[in-house]
């Protein structure tokens, strides 16, 4: 089996930002660039050594100063881009951050698909995983119980989004999705309506 190798940090993976808040179950990343967060459900990795894997479960953009809310600026603008061109300071006043639920880690040898012993360090670099890394990580679906028990909002959408992204990274995406669906069906026994929703989102 091809194991996801945590030392893959040396690859050309896109660096997205740094961890600004971390706990055993999730971490928050401040993106270097405005609106540069990965899509919901993406697999991200933080830390150059002993990397920790997370799945993006929430993305937000807000003002750097909590006391100064954004106000409308485009009454006379032709389009939205014009607002940013006319107000270059916006890129400094606003920032994008995303939250990732932790689903595994690499201890330098093996990828483990459960919670790490320590949370990520603040200022750890956060990378977006490439297709090959996503495929390797999703070779095993052992992380699904962690994802299902994580205290996050819109959990079903996160699961469906991740599986859809991972499916696209596998040679036989449909087979991957069917197996993942079967694993979910086992884990979500007794929650048929919820399972139905997830499956519909996975297949669409």
């Amino acid at each position: 089996m091809n194991e996801a190798n945590g030392t893959a940090a040396t690859t050309t993976a896109t660096r997205l930002g740094e961890v600004i808040e971390g706990s055993t179950t999730e971490f928050r990343t401040h993106c270097y660039d405005l609106y540069a967060a990965p899509p919901l459900g993406s697999l991200v990795r933080c830390g150059d050594r002993n990397s920790i894997y997370g799945i993006v479960c929430n993305v937000s953009t807000q003002s750097i100063d909590p006391s100064r809310h954004a106000i409308p600026r485009g009454r006379d603008a032709e389009n939205e881009d014009e607002i940013y061109q006319d107000n270059p300071q916006l890129n400094r006043l606003l920032y994008t951050q995303f939250q990732a639920v932790i689903v595994g880690y690499n201890d330098g040898e093996t990828t483990r698909r459960y919670l790490p012993p320590f949370p990520p360090r603040i200022h750890s670099f956060v990378y977006q995983c490439e297709s090959e890394e996503v495929r390797a990580f999703s070779e095993s679906l052992d992380f699904l119980p962690v994802l299902l028990s994580a205290p996050i909002d819109a959990q079903d959408d996160v699961i469906a989004s991740f599986l859809r992204i991972a499916g696209a990274c596998h040679d036989d995406g449909r087979e991957f999705l069917v197996n993942a669906g079967k694993a979910l069906a086992t884990l979500m026994a007794g929650q048929l309506p919820r399972l139905n929703n997830v499956l519909r989102r996975m297949s669409s």
Binding site: D171, F176, N179, A183, T186, L192, N196, L199
Partner: protein, 575 residues
Amino acid sequence: MSLFDDKADMVDQPKNEQGLNDGNGWHAEKGLGGEERRPLGMVVSGSLTEGMEVRLDGNTSIEKVKVGTFINIQGRDLQFFGVLTDVSLNSTDPSLRLTPPDVSNPFVFDVVSGTTAYGTITVEPMLTLSNDPIEAMDGPMPSKTIPPHFSKVSTASEDDIQKIFGSEDDSHFYIGNPLDMETKLCLNIEEFIKRSNGVFGKSGTGKTFLTRLLLIGILQNGTASNLVFDMHGEYGWKGTSEGSYEVKGLKQLFSSKVAVFSLDDESSRRRGLTPDYVVRIGYDEIEPEDILILQESLGLSPVAADAANSLKRELGKHWLSKFLDLPGGDEFNELATKINVHNGALSALKNRLSRLQNFDFIDRNTGHNSFNQILQYLDRGMHVVLEFGRYGNNLAAYMLVANLLTRRIYDRYVELKELAMGDPAQEPRPLVITIEEAHKFLSPALADQTIFGNIARELRKYNVTLLIVDQRPSGIDDEVMSQLGTKIACLLDNDKDTDAVLTGVSGSRKLRAVLARLESKQQALVFGHSVPMPVVIKTRDYGTPESYKELGFKDEVEVAGQVEQDIEDLFGPGS
């Protein structure tokens, strides 16, 4: 390696530590024989009394598993063998029935099948065989325990069938194939002839074919002789199949070992057959007991039937001819008074018994030797088929002759067996008597009084057993049914008949489902002494040239070739 292969254990099969699942899903295991075990699923619950509940793998189509299939369950130390007795659909979520998933989406359908919605089968464990090669030498034992959770369940392989039922040899006769398999399933013919046995099934389900095969099995084994009371001329020279083509009878296949006796030589000649002997019976050979068995077919009252005994006492050996010759009037009344029977009853008896005069095979001669002829043939190791010709449709004739001959055989065998106690060389050759319409002989009212009841119950000790062929087993006395060694049941759909056949069999409630769902032709459930466990078979082919050849039949060309070869072997080439 694909995701599915790698993670099958995680996806739809719980891991277990016994290494029963190799992590790549179940792989078909090849037995020593040609036919492989086909994986079905794993044990998830069950009990010895209720059978094992087996959850089917997601890959196993529930439509491919059939009731009656022979199943192997691989335990940790033991292998279990059983019969599939039930198939059902289950779900992990009770709300599935109320709000079914959106199965119009093929993806959702694929995911839900085998996970949330899955199939289960019930397997009745019957036998165990140790995985330890030394302990396994003791052979299969009745199952006294059950396999643990998650034991791997598969269909049995050819090798399993041979381990359990033995392979074809002198004492094992190939009777048919297990369901959906080409493997030969054998009956232990030596065990078979030790006890009385029964072949049951509705009309047209293949009883006669099965019986013919069993007779051939007994004949080929050579330990016992057959005496067949062949009601409809199906066994001797030729029979007809349901497709109304003709099949060879025993005489055609094994002419040197089979003698055809006939009650109706005209009928035999019309069919182009010269019987070995034409049976004639004298009035003096008929006993009151023979009249008793005819009570129903002649429409006699119990009093009238009993009067036959008094008549015998009063009139002596030739009671029947004397009684039938008796004119009416004073002499008749006098006799009635003497034996203390009402005039009317005696008169009715006479009327009814006079019907026997219509049977050409009964006459007033006293020197008939038919019985001794039959016995001589049997003693020589021949097999006798008694054809009834036109009397085949006359139940009274059939019952009279069968009872009369069997009673005398009984007396003779008891005598011989007693002699054998002093001189083992006198041991009589075991005899299997085949009777059709057995419920007429063995009804609860008659079984105590007729010779067939006796044989079924105890004549095993005297080397005589019965092969009962019947379509109405519920009409047979319970005690007789319970004494039958091996029962072979074709399709029966009457509840009473099914109950009667399954009386005294462990797991009978579950076998009912199997029995009621047999196909109407060429399928039978076999259980009892000559098979280690109940099993459904597809009866072996009979009627094609290949099937005759398999049974050892040689056509004229082959026989001529064999003769030439023998001459050459004896006298050298060119002689």
